[in-house]
């Protein structure tokens, strides 16, 4: 008798069939278990006694499901071709620990496979299938949520972002009074510069350095006030919808600003997602060129737009290739060329270029704390490789690698610093003339809406509050009413649906556990009803683990969710954000 299968496992199997394309099937059937990939993987090299790290072993875990359900050999002789199905949620968790925890999707095994098996591609596919039923490391869930809802992976709000850029401008102008600083939202700029949220949130020195270089080159450039995130957790989570959504925002922003070229700061996965994968995920034709800032900087030097003095960077330096840049985008020679232009003492590491080892923090691994111990064990390979160069500085063109390398340098107590090319170029800049730009040309950023609620910020909005706890309904309603919203109250699922149909609110807050129809059922009915499907929904639940159920549906996910207990500030913050996003989408 066939074993029973959990709801989620069934969905994963069904969706696997829809994900299969020639590239993936080719990789799934082509493996001859020759073992070449084994020596290519840093996890194996650091754990020689553990066969579960071997790429072919990891791949077989996914391959066996494909064989069981989609390959005729596995349907007829499952025992012969090692076909195996998924049955329980525990099976999914086990698969999660492999596809997220034992592989950084670095593709070193791929380029060393004589059969052309691209493990990273179907490993990413498997991640995507798990994410679609809510099985993922918590860190990936948090970051994906921020990228969906706020528009960038670290949840940086527009006000804070613009404030930071203005502050950097002030600091620059303290040193160079005539510097134009950072132009924000300039229309028709030749270069639109996009960054990683990490830069603006924690380490904006790379932004200042890039600004110095652009300004010294006399570039007509700008940074968008919104939709500026070029990173993309869709690449890591395997969620193509997220990948497409994030990439599309940036493309549309460049068009809106009538920018002529998009320059992407030094981030490996961001460069790959934005320049190489994004147009496919987003199903979007991109009408402007996109380039890595590494290439922009080389061109400035070659064209004589900036002058550099390499004697300013004297330490012995080596270069680490980001997997995404080198193996997926072919960016191997340009960074070396640039490095040789700005530093005196470059020492190659071995192996290098497309054969270089992963920083061991790739594929989103830096956001998955649960796997940190095994990540750091596997990092021994990289640590030994760095040590052998005798360099005191490791240069890389990727923010993720900066953090991955810094982590392993600390763990293995290497005497090394990590830096990026932009820092070295800025340090080597020869500034021999004051930058002359008339002050009236400095663009003034648009007024920014403060995040803290001002009176009546929800004026004109009709909000339906659905929850079976009367006290909670009263609390949320009062907060929203105080801010000008018109409130409709529902105390169970049926009433919520009825009022949604009758009143067509601008937004609905929804509890998950309610008598009658649960919030999950209500949500599914809403989304399947053409007239109601576009009402933004904010889940408010005291059981955050249940939110995964929402993602388990074949309908569009909610616009936001808030965990109870909830305070006034986060109600306003979340509701306003959803309404503003809905408004900007609707226009």
């Amino acid at each position: 008798m066939a074993k029973e299968r959990s709801h989620k496992a069934q969905i994963v199997i069904d969706r696997l069939g829809k994900k299969l394309n020639r590239q993936i099937v080719g990789s799934l059937v082509a493996c001859v278990h020759c073992g070449n990939c084994t020596d290519a993987c840093h996890y194996v090299l650091a754990n020689p006694g553990d066969p579960t790290y071997a790429p072919a072993y990891k791949a077989d875990k996914i391959r066996s499901i494909f064989k069981r359900h989609y390959d005729w050999t596995g349907r007829i002789f499952p025992w012969w071709v090692h076909a195996k199905s998924l049955h329980t949620d525990e099976d999914l968790e086990e698969l999660k620990d492999i596809v997220f925890g034992k592989c950084t999707n670095c593709r070193r095994c791929t380029i060393n496979c004589p059969m052309g098996v691209d493990l990273a591609t179907f490993n990413r596919m498997a991640r995507g299938l798990l994410v679609s039923v809510g099985v993922m490391p918590e860190g990936v869930a948090v970051v994906s949520k921020d990228q969906w809802e706020i528009g960038n992976q670290m949840g940086v709000l527009k006000e804070d972002y613009v404030d930071t850029l203005e502050w950097l401008t002030e600091e620059m102008q303290m040193e160079y009074p005539k510097s134009p600083g950072i132009p924000i939202d300039t229309v028709g700029a030749d270069v639109v510069y996009s960054i990683n949220p990490r830069e603006v949130k924690y380490d904006p020195r790379t932004i200042s350095d890039a600004a110095m270089i652009f300004n010294e080159a006399g570039e007509n450039w700008t940074m968008p006030a919104e939709d500026w995130d070029m990173t993309n957790f869709g690449l890591f989570s395997g969620d193509d919808d997220l990948g497409g959504g994030v990439a599309r925002r940036l493309y549309e922003k460049v068009v809106e600003l009538k920018g002529k070229k998009l320059v992407i700061s030094e981030c490996g996965h961001g460069y790959r997602s934005t320049r190489c994968e994004g147009p496919n995920w987003a199903q979007h034709d991109v009408s402007f060129p996109m380039e890595s800032s590494v290439i922009t900087m080389i061109n400035y030097i070659k064209e004589g737009k900036i002058k550099v003095d390499k004697s300013k960077n004297t330490e012995k330096m080596t270069f680490h290739d980001s997997c995404n840049n080198a193996r997926s985008c072919g960016l191997t020679e340009e960074p070396r060329e640039l490095l040789n232009l700005v530093c005196e003492n470059f020492q190659e590491m071995y192996p290098n270029r497309t054969e270089n080892y992963c920083c061991t923090g790739g594929g989103g691994a830096m956001s998955m704390s649960e796997y940190t111990p095994q990540r750091l064990i596997s990092a021994k390979v990289k640590a030994d490789q760095l040590k052998a160069t005798g360099a005191s500085v490791v240069v890389t063109s990727c923010h993720n690698c900066v953090d991955g390398l810094a982590d392993l340098i600390k763990h293995y107590k290497l005497d090394m610093k990590v830096t990026q090319l932009v820092n070295l170029v800025a340090n080597a800049l020869v500034i021999d003339k004051p930058i002359e730009v008339p002050t009236e040309e400095v663009s003034i950023p648009a007024a920014v809406t403060p995040v803290v609620a001002e009176a009546a910020c929800l004026q004109g909005y009709k909000i339906l509050v659905a929850d079976d706890e009367p006290d909670f309904v009263t609390f949320v309603s009062t907060v929203l009413e105080d801010n000008g919203a018109e409130i409709i109250k529902a105390y169970d699922g049926n009433q919520a649906l009825e009022l949604a149909r009758k009143e067509k609110p601008d937004l609905m807050t929804l509890d998950i556990t309610m008598p009658g129809k649960s919030g999950i059922e209500v949500f599914e009915i809403l989304r399947s009803d053409d007239e109601l499907a576009d009402i933004p929904v904010c889940i408010m639940t005291g059981k955050p683990e249940l939110r995964k159920l929402i993602y388990d549906r074949a309908v569009k996910p909610p616009e936001g969710y808030v965990d109870k207990p909830i305070d006034e500030e986060s109600i306003i913050l979340n509701i306003r954000r959803i309404l503003e996003l809905a408004k900007s989408k609707g226009k």
Binding site: Y202, G361, E370, Y371, D403
Partner: protein
């Protein structure tokens, strides 16, 4: 989940060494965590920064932007990096007992 132990300090930390139970934080804990981030002694300025991070985190549940941190404490960016060589995200936040910042850091 792991345990971090140094002297008579014993706390629950995540796999990256960030505190799991913010209530376990005290000044002794901060000193012990600082030693793992290359900070051997906590000066008055260090405490000012730590206290700001803790207040902000208690209020908003996330780490502040570096801009806010510099503005409110009056320290220039350079000084923050001098005080915490591993940076505000990994260094200062860890010592102040915050959870690991989200995203690829």
């Amino acid at each position: 989940m792991a345990i971090f132990e140094q002297g008579d300090v014993k706390i629950d930390v995540d796999e990256d060494g960030f505190m799991e139970e913010p209530d376990q934080w005290n000044e002794k804990v901060a000193v012990a965590l600082a030693s793992t981030e290359g900070v051997d002694e906590l000066s008055e300025d260090h405490w000012k920064l730590i206290n700001y991070l803790r207040e902000y985190y208690a209020k908003f549940g996330i780490a502040p932007m570096i801009r806010k941190l510099c503005k409110e404490t009056g320290f220039p960016l350079k000084k923050v990096y001098e005080m915490f060589p591993s940076g505000p995200a990994k260094g200062a936040c860890k010592v102040a007992g915050l959870a690991k910042p989200t995203g690829c850091v």
